[in-house]
């Protein structure tokens, strides 16, 4: 029944082949990260102070993005996808947000240790971000060309002709004709798709290596959505831009991403190659999430996940999913599950999965 047979008990963890992989003890136990990654987030914990109390927004996020890779970050609203994106850029509101643990390593450098000044030099130049609503993302009082060329001037130290040239080049790379007509348009004069392309042009205009796309297609209609997703793939092919695609839409992730990481209430519960995770989801939450996709023809067949997202001021102890989990056990209410490898590059944080992995093979059904 199970086509994906998990490793036998005690077998060495199947890690992504990494040059000079660190000995098992060096990395946090079982952290699903490889060397040679462009971006590596390990055990990241972030808290927000609020009137009602401390919101434990991120609770040990482990992620990695290889060069030229597109990672999908999937989860419900409020699960910490966007917070993770902003954390990478160091843009969480400072006195309110606190990084309590973990590290964010980009090209081998710890971003959390960098000064605001150093981070500013990275933002928009090496790591950039695009957002959900392209109309709101552009300043309504400046033309599109002006806004893109300003980023170019800021990070590339050019002006005049060369800046104009780079602006046109960035625009062309996103599939917009770099004509005067477009450059001199105000955001409200462009269509939704064109606006999002303009936003992307701004994001890649200075040769970013990593693009964090925060729900870039959510505000667009379906045909434009597909075009923007194609554009993401094209940017990877033509410019080698690695991407983190934040989305609540598993279908979008399936179309675009090499790997997906599923987040729930501030933790990554499952991470692996998109096709594998889609075909053989292990974590009860991932399974439930895929079951929610409309598959039948009648509305009555739509699934939902019982219960609701926990209050992160007072999150459930142990596994944060256990109150909604059909397979919850006693240990789930006390101990936070560690990421367990279930296959090549596929990691799951679930006590039940870990237990069944340790059991004889025939008992395991994902």
């Amino acid at each position: 029944m199970s086509s994906a047979i998990p490793p036998a008990p005690g077998a060495p963890a199947p890690r992504a082949p990494a040059a000079g992989a660190a000995p098992a003890g060096a990395a946090p136990a079982g952290a699903p990260v490889g060397a040679g990654d462009l971006l590596r987030i390990a055990g990241l914990k972030v808290e927000f102070r609020s009137m009602r109390g401390v919101v434990k927004a991120l609770d040990g996020v482990n992620l990695s993005v290889a060069p030229r890779e597109i990672l999908g970050l999937v989860g419900e609203s409020g699960c910490g996808k966007s917070v993770t994106g902003f954390a990478v850029l160091g843009l969480l509101p400072r006195p309110i947000a606190r990084y309590t643990d973990g590290e964010i390593v980009f090209r081998g450098e710890d971003l959390l240790g960098k000064s605001e000044h150093e981070m500013r030099a990275l933002r928009g130049k090496v790591i950039s971000m695009v957002f959900q609503d392209p109309l709101a993302s552009l300043n309504p009082v400046f033309t599109v060309g002006e806004q893109i060329s300003r980023v170019v001037r800021l990070h590339r130290g050019v002006s005049g002709g060369p800046a104009r040239e780079m602006t046109r080049e960035a625009l062309a790379a996103t599939g917009l004709p770099p004509t005067d007509e477009i450059l001199q348009s105000y955001p409200h004069q462009l269509s939704g798709g064109m606006r999002q392309r303009a936003c992307m042009a701004m994001a890649i205009s200075c040769g970013s290596e990593l693009l964090i796309a925060d729900e870039p297609t959510t505000a667009l209609d379906v045909t434009i959505q597909a075009q923007i997703l194609k554009l993401l793939l094209r940017l990877r092919e033509e410019r080698g831009v690695a991407q983190v695609l934040i989305t609540h839409n598993v279908g979008v992730a399936a179309q675009t991403c090499d790997r997906v990481a599923v987040m729930y209430a501030g933790t990554v519960v499952e991470q692996g190659p998109t096709a594998r995770v889609m075909k053989h989801p292990y974590h009860p939450y991932t399974i439930a999430l895929y079951e929610c996709l409309p598959q039948g023809k009648r509305a009555a067949e739509l699934h939902t996940i019982p219960g609701s997202v926990p209050d992160l001021i007072d999150p459930p102890p142990g596994c944060r999913y256990h109150p909604r989990c059909p397979r919850a056990m006693d240990v789930c209410t006390t101990v936070k599950p560690a990421p367990t490898p279930v296959a090549e590059g596929h990691w799951v944080s679930c006590h039940d999965v870990a237990r069944r992995l340790a059991a004889p093979v025939h008992e395991v059904a994902p």
């Binding site: 843009l91 950039s128 300043n139």
Partner: protein, 304 residues
């Protein structure tokens, strides 16, 4: 047209093409403004006063009297063909003095507004954008200033600094900047939540540059409207200070001062105080009308 060289023409049309969007925006604004007849008349009136102020030595029928030269042989004459607005208690042509008075009436608000904007806008932008303790500190200071009735505070400051037009200007700046800090701060608080500000930050733009490029331009409209209304208020405040003897000194052709002296003659020689009073009234009214017109132009809801 025929004398412009080809390069000049190309330069201009090139400029037109590159700024087509802002040009049409500008033309549209002018059209919206022009629909408001009163505002247009008000602009013409203000322009007329500016011409008077600039050309006072040429326009005033008796320039030396306008500046304060007395001629006791023609004291307290009623309006006539020689002296359209009559003469005052020292025999000076009231019309000439009203014309010269427009200089102070226009220069004072202009200069004080510059001071007010230079203090008020940056402080408001910084307080609103950064929020937190900075905001708290700045806003509590403005609260202290705003807790005083502004005219009384201005009077107290002038009394403290010494009576002169310069000190009236300083006092007005000190009294008025908190209004602008409030206004801009409110705009900045809402603007900093806007996604394009977030985008600017993800693009590595420094905070001060964000305030300058993304916050302040959006506060521009409300500040302009507030300014046109306040220009009227400042004209009144300057006149009030002079009327109270805290501003301009006697030979100076100041409208407030003229009303102050005209006050004792108001029953017999009504023209001494009435004409400068009318001048103040019309100028303040004109600025308020322009302010209303501009608010319509700058408020997107009034479009089309």
């Amino acid at each position: 047209m025929s004398v412009t060289t080809p390069t000049q023409t190309r330069g201009l049309s090139d400029w037109r093409v590159r700024h087509a969007a802002s040009l049409s925006e500008w033309r549209h604004s002018v059209r919206v403004f022009a629909r408001d007849r009163l505002a247009v008349i008000a602009v013409v009136w203000i322009a007329f006063m500016v011409v008077l102020a600039v050309g006072a030595p040429v326009i005033a029928p008796y320039p030396s009297q306008g500046q304060g030269q007395p001629d006791v042989s023609i004291r307290l004459q009623a309006p006539s063909a020689h002296h359209l607005f009559g003469t005052d208690e020292l025999g000076r042509d009231v019309l000439s003095r009203v014309v010269y008075g427009s200089r102070i009436a226009l220069v004072m608000p202009f200069v004080t507004m510059i001071g007010v904007l230079l203090i008020g806008i940056p402080l408001g932008g910084i307080a609103g954008y950064f929020g937190g303790l900075v905001d708290e500190a700045v806003m509590r200071v403005t609260d202290v200033f705003l807790a005083f009735p502004s005219l009384i505070l201005t009077m107290a400051l002038v009394a403290f600094l010494g009576a002169s037009l310069r000190n009236v200007g300083i006092a007005i700046v000190v009294t008025w900047w908190p209004w602008y800090t409030r206004l801009v701060r409110g705009m900045a608080v809402s603007l900093r939540q806007r996604p394009f500000v977030k985008v600017a930050r993800t693009m590595g733009v420094a905070d001060l540059r964000i305030i300058l490029r993304h916050i302040l331009p959006h506060a521009f409209g409300p500040v302009i409207v507030q300014m046109t209304v306040d220009v009227g208020t400042v004209i009144l405040a300057v006149a009030a200070m002079s009327f109270l003897g805290l501003g301009a000194k006697p030979p100076t052709p100041d409208w407030g001062l003229m009303i102050s002296t005209g006050q004792s003659y108001i029953l017999q020689q009504w023209w001494i105080g009435t004409f400068p009073g009318l001048a103040i009234f019309l100028l303040v009214l004109a600025f308020n009308l322009v302010g209303d017109g501009l608010r319509d132009v700058l408020d997107p809801r009034m479009r089309r």
